[in-house]
Amino acid sequence: MSQIETFYEVMRRQGITRRSFLKYCSLTAAALGLGPTFAPKIAHAMETKERTPVIWLHGLECTCCSESFIRSAHPLVKDVVLSMISLDYDDTLMASAGHQAEAILEETIQKYKGKYILAVEGNPPLNEDGMFCIVGGKPFLDQLKHAAKDAAAVIAWGSCASWGCVQAARPNPTQAVPIHKVITDKPIIKVPGCPPIAEVMTGVITYMLTFGRLPELDRQGRPKMFYSQRIHDKCYRRPHFDAGQFVEEWDDEGARKGYCLYKVGCKGPTTYNACSTVRWNEGTSFPIQAGHGCIGCSEDGFWDKGSFYDRLTDIHQFGIEKNADEIGTAVAGGVGAAIATHAAVSAIKRAQHKGDQE
């Protein structure tokens, strides 16, 4: 008998029937887009594999990732994933506190060297030697580096850990940076979003536990199964976009009819996430379905891209906030005026020298 329980044992201990367990396996297979043949494989993995220890650290963040995670829709996911993984340290969820909690962290790192998954919510501020985020009397920066050293893999929960998010927004006084700026020698799975979708979070963990490897990642380190398409690509309002039917004002006929929100600044066409397919709160809805455009919360630097209600980014280098089209119109206008002036001068000069030519 192994020291740590298998996932299946945990589930049975929690009163989950084998029938429910198998249903869970096939649902998970479907959620991961794997097809029916993978359900028994997931079941087998769950029955035989030891739970993976997970250390969940919190840096500069708002805990919205944790809030999302614990609301994972499928009941089994909610009840079990937290038990499936051996969540050995998570200061917001764990019962112990203070020195006891820090001792558990140290113990887990020593005991499962090179085997545990490090999940990071939030990010480290670098300014003043990391003094803007203190955990257990030490800078979070140190804790993060220490815990990352012996981790098998690192998960960056949410936009904070993945990109920097609000605390890294201009002018970023604490010099908060995404975790990949600090952890450079480990594979990092970015699960951006503010917060990420609960099912996406549990889906990523389930995949890693089931297959014992990282999910396939895109160029920016995000799992392809959830982040390979834009909100726009699978948006149920897309036919209105293609037809050229837009909400022009928030209280117009188009808004009532559920037309495309592109003109009121929807960032769906530039945002990679699974909101339009997985949706939120047990698949109930997502921002566009509720009548508001996507704000692009899972994209890099989304706080610094200007208003949530404009399609184009403000370009700050021009002093006054202007977007590309306003700058372009001004430049084209200026060049046009210059051309007109130059043409006029040319004509006058030519008229003056007409006589000299022959």
């Binding site: 895109d218 160029r219 390979s228 976009f241 530039t270 700058i327 372009g328 130059h342 040319s346």
Partner: protein, 252 residues
């Protein structure tokens, strides 16, 4: 028609139409003509003109769409058509530009001017200054050039070659988002998106690139017309027929 060997040792097709005062004493001007722009190059120029106009108009309406269409979504496909036109014209510009690069290798020496301004030549920069002075009304007469004048060559490279390359790369990067990950456009151009930050940044740069090219087109058209009238050689007809006419026989 004779063949002329110019300073750089390139052979030029040359034709001279000349006559002095005829029997009635009417003064005639001697016009020398050189064949500069070969047919594929001229075709490329005008194909690019039409495509870029299409791209600017459709691109603008993709960024700032027209007023909402009435009726059912199933009865309309306006954005779809506009985007199709944009992508089609984008493909045409890109393929034509690749063809243009090919022609730089196999065409005559003037076909290479666009890509290779002699930036390390002292003479080139002296003549750039001369040309700037001509545009500032300081020089009374411009110099004669068979191909581009040095300032023109510099502007063509800096505005057009750099601008259109930038637009092709950012354009296909944005196009790859629609085709999806793993598509040819994603493999070839998808790296541009993280390089510039994220998708929205690429959009911003693509917008700025449009205005860069619009500025180029405005100056290009103005200067072509002005030089056609005021310089010592033909310009507009040269890009139609390929022959450069010189208005006088005085030395450069």
């Amino acid at each position: 028609m004779t063949t002329l060997i110019d300073e750089e040792g390139n052979s030029e097709k040359l034709s001279v139409a000349s006559s002095n005062s005829d029997a009635n004493g009417v003064k005639m001007r001697k016009q020398t003509a050189v064949y500069v722009y070969e047919a594929p190059l001229r075709l490329w120029h005008w194909v690019t003109v039409l495509s870029v106009i299409t791209l600017c108009i459709t691109g603008y309406f993709i960024g700032s769409p027209l007023p909402t269409m009435p009726g059912e979504a199933s009865d309309n496909y306006l954005m779809g058509y506009i985007r199709f036109a944009h992508f089609a014209a984008g493909y045409i510009v890109a393929v034509a530009f690749v063809g243009r690069i090919y022609w730089a290798f196999v065409g005559n020496s003037h076909a290479r001017e666009l890509f290779l301004p002699p930036l390390f030549s002292r003479k080139f920069w002296r003549e750039v200054v001369h040309e700037v002075r001509w545009y500032l009304f300081i020089e009374k007469t411009p110099k004669k050039y068979i191909g581009h004048n040095p300032l023109g060559q510099l502007a063509m490279f800096g505005f057009f070659v750099v601008g259109i390359t930038f637009m092709i790369i950012t354009g296909f990067a944005l196009y790859s988002e629609g085709l999806g990950q793993g598509s040819w456009a994603d493999i070839a151009f998808g790296w541009v998106i993280p390089l510039m930050g994220q998708s929205q940044d690429v959009h911003t740069w693509h917008h700025l690139g449009m205005w860069y090219l619009i500025t180029f087109v405005m100056i290009h058209v103005y200067v072509a017309i002005r030089e056609d009238i005021m310089s010592r050689q033909s310009l507009i007809s040269t890009m139609i027929g390929g022959w450069r006419m010189f208005k006088d026989d005085k030395p450069d």
